[in-house]
């Protein structure tokens, strides 16, 4: 019976993860569609969708953990995801793809914000011992500034592309060529669009609740701290979208998207993933979180920025360094510090 309960919980954990990730995808997709129809600029929608898209599972889990009295789990998901994103995902992607290049702008802008947000979080943890409403306000302001910079840069990029754009399509004899996309018909907000966005939102809420529930129960059964459950199981699980996007874009040579997804996601996880739950309740911080986990998060961020800075790329060797760093952290955190 006991064994069956464990199997059921693990099944709930896996199924809820898939529900959360797919629901977040549907929700973002439909919200962007509706946003476009009501006249929100495509640039703003594009930037926010890519910034938020992969991080909604972490955000939802952190909110649910805060609402259902498991704040440690929420903090664990956010910090654990950030460490896993950099050391684990970028490490694995660099090992498999061989090289992940970066543009100087990606590193200076996104890297600086990722590092800044990590230091702000550490500051609150260290000096206040809690992430509260004051932290929320600062987090949301800093994230708004970051989004504003992203949108401004994207606008510049679009204008530059417009100026450069000179498409010439010649059809080869007997062959075929891709045509320009015909102008899209003006859409209206339909019932289906609203219904699907609500389905996405409901899936996100239910999925995150189930995820937090199964994570908490499994932690109790296995007699391990909720923090560890958050730092590893839920953090790695909710980062699956980052993993598929980063790895796939590195493989396709979309290097900026690869590193940008990770750095943008880490900024979002802290500023919004912790900032919003802290509006509902002050999130107390465990001693080990600010003496070990948060410093490790800053260490891996600095490490990846230094590795990239050497040649504006991550090599396979760098990937191994990052992956080994993650393994060392996991072993120390689980088996030594507990």
């Amino acid at each position: 019976m006991f064994m069956l309960w464990i199997i059921a919980l693990v099944t709930i954990l896996i199924v809820s993860l898939i529900i959360v990730i797919k629901a977040a995808d549907i929700f973002v997709d439909k919200i962007v569609e509706i946003g476009g129809i009501i006249g929100i600029s495509e640039i703003i929608l594009g930037v926010t969708a890519s910034a938020i898209g992969t991080s909604l599972p972490e955000f939802g889990s952190a909110v649910m953990a805060a609402l259902f009295n498991s704040p440690d789990l929420g903090v664990g998901v956010v910090i654990g995801s950030n460490i896993w994103n950099i050391a684990g995902i970028l490490g694995i992607s660099a090992i498999f793809a061989g090289t992940i290049r970066s543009s100087p702008k990606g590193i200076t802008r996104d890297g600086a914000f990722t590092l800044l947000t990590a230091f702000i979080l550490l500051g609150f943890m260290y000096f206040r011992g809690v992430v509260d409403i004051y932290a929320s306000i600062i987090f949301v302001i800093v994230y708004s500034i970051y989004l504003w910079i992203l949108i401004r840069d994207q606008k510049k990029e679009v204008e530059k592309n417009k100026a450069d754009k000179q498409e010439k399509i010649v059809t080869p004899k007997g062959g075929d060529a891709i045509a320009d996309h015909p102008p899209e018909e003006k859409k209206k907000i339909g019932f289906g669009m609203i219904a699907w966005s609500l389905v996405g939102l409901a899936g996100l809420i239910v999925g995150c609740r189930l995820l937090v529930y199964s994570g908490t129960e499994l932690a109790i059964i296995a007699n391990i701290p909720q923090m560890i459950m958050g730092l590893f199981t839920l953090a790695i699980g909710t980062s699956i979208p980052e993993l598929v996007v980063t790895f796939n874009s590195a493989r396709k040579g979309l290097h900026d998207l690869s590193i940008g997804t990770i750095l943008g996601s880490n900024t979002f996880n802290i500023m919004i993933g912790l900032g919003i739950p802290a509006i509902f309740m002050s999130v107390p911080i465990e001693h080990l979180s600010y003496t070990f986990d948060a410093p490790v998060m800053i260490f891996v961020t600095v490490l990846v920025l230094l590795l990239i800075k050497r040649g504006m790329k991550l090599t396979r060797v760098d990937g191994f360094i990052l992956a080994l760093t993650y393994i060392t952290y996991a072993v120390l955190r689980i088996y030594v510090l507990g």
């Binding site: 962007v32 969708a49 890519s50 004899k173 007997g174 075929d176 060529a177 996007v245 493989r251 040579g253």
Partner: protein, 143 residues
Amino acid sequence: MVYKKILVTSTGEYLDQIAKETMEIIADWDTDVIGVYVVETSTPFLTPKKVKEMMVTELTQRGKQVLDAMEEKFRAPNIHFSRILKEGDPADEIVKIAEKNDVDLLVMGTGKSIVDKHLLGSVSEKVVHSAPCTILLIRTVSE
């Protein structure tokens, strides 16, 4: 051997080398060159839809730039250059385009390390097995 219709494909890397070797084959003969870039659209399960769309848009933009660069490289009085930008599986699409356009020669780069071939797969290896014409594989890895 004179090739009248040549398909050249590249992801943008080593384009100089690929174009140089192709030009040597063309010499002064009147030739049709078809530049091909395939936007790989496959993504793993759980990839967010918006990110997938973004990937396709970026790769399409890159494809246009690669084809522009290719057109520049093959600018010559005896060469008629045309371009094809397709979405799909690169190996499948290259073979289909070669068949449909009845090309005499297919030129592409090759030379991933054994590790990369195992980890990432090789488009040229797949094309070799089903190409409908002669293939020139240009070794692009620097020694």
